[in-house]
């Protein structure tokens, strides 16, 4: 086995470049290194100007998502050795505007997160003196959707997000669904108004790429399908009953 590997890293600097280019770096090929370790080697020893985000290096903070050979992955939990003999290409997450090198703009995603009202909504202002009773089976209904780390790999994988930036997208829909399914929450109608709009769930073409790339085993595709069903039921109900009174 060779003891080095070539990383072709996408570079883009808005102050000097009109379009991105690739720069090759030769780094040690160590079997205990993740792709992130290789990027840090470049930054520390070869080129201090390379920009990328990272923090926890244990797959939970969600900062270090990038395209590795065209597939969105967390660089901190992707082994370098898997790409031997190389070269491997590292680029910024697809479908996001690039700020610099491997750093993408998060504004749009952050706005979408907030838009789905990802907090407990109580219509009755009820606050129990102790905890809300929630049996393990009730928690099970939403639990997987609460595991999203907001890494946005699903947006980089989603073909609809690529075509239409108005699409509210997999992670935000999964999060809305997470609160809708939570027995403590009463906000489903508020969220339906947002998520069932044109740019909400109906845009999804059920490709399922979002669930495939999720590093945390969340299934946004399932959330979207379940949401469609709920929205359809509510839509029918709205003909039978005045809105909001059921």
């Amino acid at each position: 086995m060779a003891d080095t590997i070539i990383l072709e890293v996408e570079r883009f600097h808005p102050e000097s470049d009109t379009e991105p280019s690739y720069q090759s770096f030769e780094v040690p090929l160590r079997d205990d290194w993740m792709v992130l370790d290789a990027l840090n080697h470049i930054k520390d020893q070869l080129d201090g100007s390379l920009a990328f985000r990272w923090s926890c290096r244990m797959g939970i903070c969600g900062s270090c998502g990038m395209m590795i050979n065209g597939v969105p992955m967390l660089t901190c939990e992707t082994q370098l050795i898997n790409f031997a003999p190389g070269p491997l290409r590292v680029g910024p997450l697809a479908h996001f505007p690039v700020i610099k090198d491997l750093v993408v703009e998060m504004d749009d995603f952050m706005a979408k997160l907030q838009k789905v009202k990802p907090w407990i909504v109580r219509k009755d202002d009820f606050q129990p003196e102790r905890e809300f009773i929630q049996k393990p089976a009730q928690m099970e209904t939403y639990h997987q959707f609460s595991l999203c780390i907001n890494c946005t790999l699903c947006y980089a994988a989603c073909p609809v997000s690529g075509l239409d930036s108005n699409f509210i997208g997999p992670a935000a829909i999964a999060l809305a669904h997470r609160y809708n399914l939570d027995s403590r929450d009463q906000g489903i109608e508020d969220r339906l108004d947002i998520v069932s709009q044109h740019e909400g769930i109906w845009d999804c073409t059920v490709v399922g790429e979002c669930s495939t790339v999720c590093p945390k085993g969340v299934d946004p595709s399932l959330a979207i399908q379940q949401y469609k069903l709920t929205a359809t039921k509510e839509w029918f109900k709205s003909f039978l009953l005045p809105r909001g009174k059921n």
């Binding site: 102050e15 201090g48 102790r130 905890e131």
Partner: protein, 581 residues
């Protein structure tokens, strides 16, 4: 320069900062809150906490018992008034989190479940499987999104506190995306920037844990308290330093040396039993368990690996179901980073720097010595943790004292002094010039940031590891001084503005060198052994001299000045720490 103004500004978007922001938004919705964080809040290091948050829940438990465990766990260096307040408030805070949607693990009847934890005499640790910090952080962040009075400055790096006439007036921040330097004014500032684990080479801490808030306060003249008290967690993965939660032992995991022997029994921590016994063996406090593992290294009873000595954490007898339901992240981390399944193989572990008991000195109201400046969470030292924090007390602390600092700040700004606008802006302009001269426009430097950082962290491990002594501490102190000098000659290759992470690495390194220096000097001055601070040359606890917090004050040139402040003792006079007997 772009300027903006708010009532209260919070630096740091982790658990303590978010809790503070929510408290202000709920209590005083008319107040404008600024949250300044160098990362998006959900990236903050609270996300990596695993095991749980302690708060009295069961009928068989009491606030006094939680207090006693915390006091004895702290080796009597915790302030007992702060500990009592903490133990009283934390159950209410954990309930708030429940009402805000935190998916706490449940009993079959739907009540919140609790688990045992190290150094705790009763089961009182609330948990969300082994992703407690992750769930708490996301719950807090998502809850905060409903409040329009909170303005977030995401990816803005605070470089300096603005202080005029002895009172805080805001901060200067570097906006990463544009490289613009901004003055953000506020009548009160809360520091909640977390710890400084990255001054050590082998740490569970995220890359962002560079002690920024500690250094900002210190540079502005506020003292750092008990900085020698750096906690080593017993169970980190050998190469990466990734944390394997104490919950693994709470659920029944065993620590085993190369002879297959549960060695903790040799360290006055009790006798082995098949199922866990509270405050005994694997459920001992972190300082004692880490010291015991180190003892095995010294006796040659550990395994040898490419990254040094290690022992085994064996979970196999717990079975797949328990590991999957209670410790899913442990399994996930082992599979991804160690290529092993803890259901079938023991986990290789060694002690790893994990937490700072020390931090920005505050009183029980979260106030620092600087008018209008508050601190909470790991960045602060109030102090409830003293010389050794008990596992699962930090997540509760950031809630309790995040909220309390917020209430203090609300009260303070009712009568906060006004400062001259031109004086504040002139300070901000000075800071902009400093950043440009020393970093952005700097050419000709020869020292690589990474090299200084590596030398710093290695001397910290040598001098301020699990065991310390005068000779190596003096060496480390000299080394840090040398690095402070060499830091002035760092090489900056990137002189552009947009998302210049070389610039932020340099600023972080500057912060870390200051914080490291306070750690070394506080450790050098404390000539006794207490909790996490073990001096080979002074192996006994010395209450006659050191039942006191060390306070590190910045001096204009040279190392910090250290003085002492008595510990607050209310109901629990100093005694022996007894575990397993």
């Amino acid at each position: 320069m772009e300027t903006s103004a708010h009532d209260i500004l919070i630096i740091g978007g982790g658990g303590a900062g978010l809790r503070a922001a929510i408290e202000i938004a709920q209590q005083s919705p008319h107040l404008s809150v600024a949250m300044v964080s160098k990362v998006y809040p959900m990236r903050s290091h609270t996300v990596s906490a695993e095991g749980g948050a302690a708060g009295v829940a069961g009928k068989d438990d009491s606030i006094d018992e939680h207090c006693y465990d915390t006091v004895s766990g702290s080796d009597w260096l915790g302030d007992q008034d702060a500990i009592e307040y903490f133990c009283n408030e934390v159950p209410k805070e954990l309930l708030h989190l429940e009402h805000w949607g935190c998916p706490w693990s449940r009993e079959p009847d739907g009540r919140v479940a609790v688990r045992p934890f190290g150094g705790m005499k009763k089961m009182r640790t609330w948990f969300a499987a082994d992703k407690t910090g992750f769930h708490m952080l996301h719950t807090l962040f998502q809850t905060s999104l409903q409040f329009g009075s909170i303005t977030r400055y995401d990816e803005v790096f605070a470089t300096r506190l603005l202080v005029e006439d002895g009172a805080i007036q805001g901060i200067v921040g570097l906006e990463l995306r544009t490289g613009k330097i901004r003055a953000i004014q506020a009548k009160a500032v809360i520091i909640s920037t977390g710890g400084c684990g990255r001054v050590f080479p082998f740490t569970t801490n995220a890359n962002i844990c560079t002690g920024d808030g500690m250094a900002l306060a210190y540079q502005a003249g506020a003292p750092l308290k008990d900085m020698e008290m750096a906690q080593y967690h017993p169970t980190g993965l050998p190469f990466t330093g990734i944390l394997i939660t104490e919950a693994a032992r709470a659920e029944g995991g065993w620590l085993i040396n190369k002879d297959g022997y549960r060695f903790l029994q040799d360290y006055d921590l009790g006798k082995p039993t098949p199922t866990p016994v509270l405050r005994s063996m694997e459920l001992g406090p972190r300082d004692r368990v880490s010291q015991a593992i180190f003892g095995e290294f010294e006796k040659g009873r550990a395994f040898k690996g490419p990254y040094g000595d290690y022992v085994h954490l064996d979970l196999r007898h717990l079975g797949e179901h328990k590991i999957e339901s209670r410790l899913p992240m442990v399994r996930e981390l082992c599979l991804k980073y160690e290529n092993l399944d803890p259901v079938r193989e023991p986990i290789r572990i060694r002690p790893v720097q994990h937490y700072m008991m020390g931090g920005v000195h505050t009183n029980i109201d979260g106030e620092t010595t600087l008018a209008g400046l508050y601190a909470a969470g790991e960045a602060a030292c109030v102090s409830i943790n003293g010389a050794n924090r008990l596992g699962s007390n930090s997540l509760g602390e950031l809630l309790v004292y995040g909220a309390r600092a917020a209430r203090s700040a609300i009260q303070y700004i009712q009568s906060a002094p006004h400062a001259s606008q031109s004086a504040i802006l002139s300070q901000a302009a000075d800071e902009e010039r400093r950043l440009e001269e020393q970093f952005l426009h700097k050419t000709g430097g020869t020292e690589r940031i990474a090299n200084i950082r590596n030398e710093m962290s290695h001397t910290m491990e040598t001098g301020c590891g699990i065991y310390r002594e005068r000779e190596t501490l003096v060496e480390s102190a000299n080394k840090i001084r040398e690095l402070q000098e060499r830091f002035r000659n760092i090489a900056i290759d990137d002189h552009t503005r947009t998302f210049n992470t070389q610039l932020t690495s340099a600023l972080e390194l500057g912060f870390m060198l200051d914080v490291a220096e306070t750690i070394v000097h506080s450790a050098l001055n404390r000539e006794e052994s207490r909790g996490a601070h073990q001096r080979r040359d002074f192996p006994k606890r010395d209450d006659s001299k050191y039942l006191a917090h060390s306070m590190a004050w910045r001096s204009p040139e040279g190392p910090p000045r250290i003085d002492y402040r008595p510990v607050v003792i209310t109901r629990w006079p100093p005694g022996e720490r007894v575990y397993g007997r």
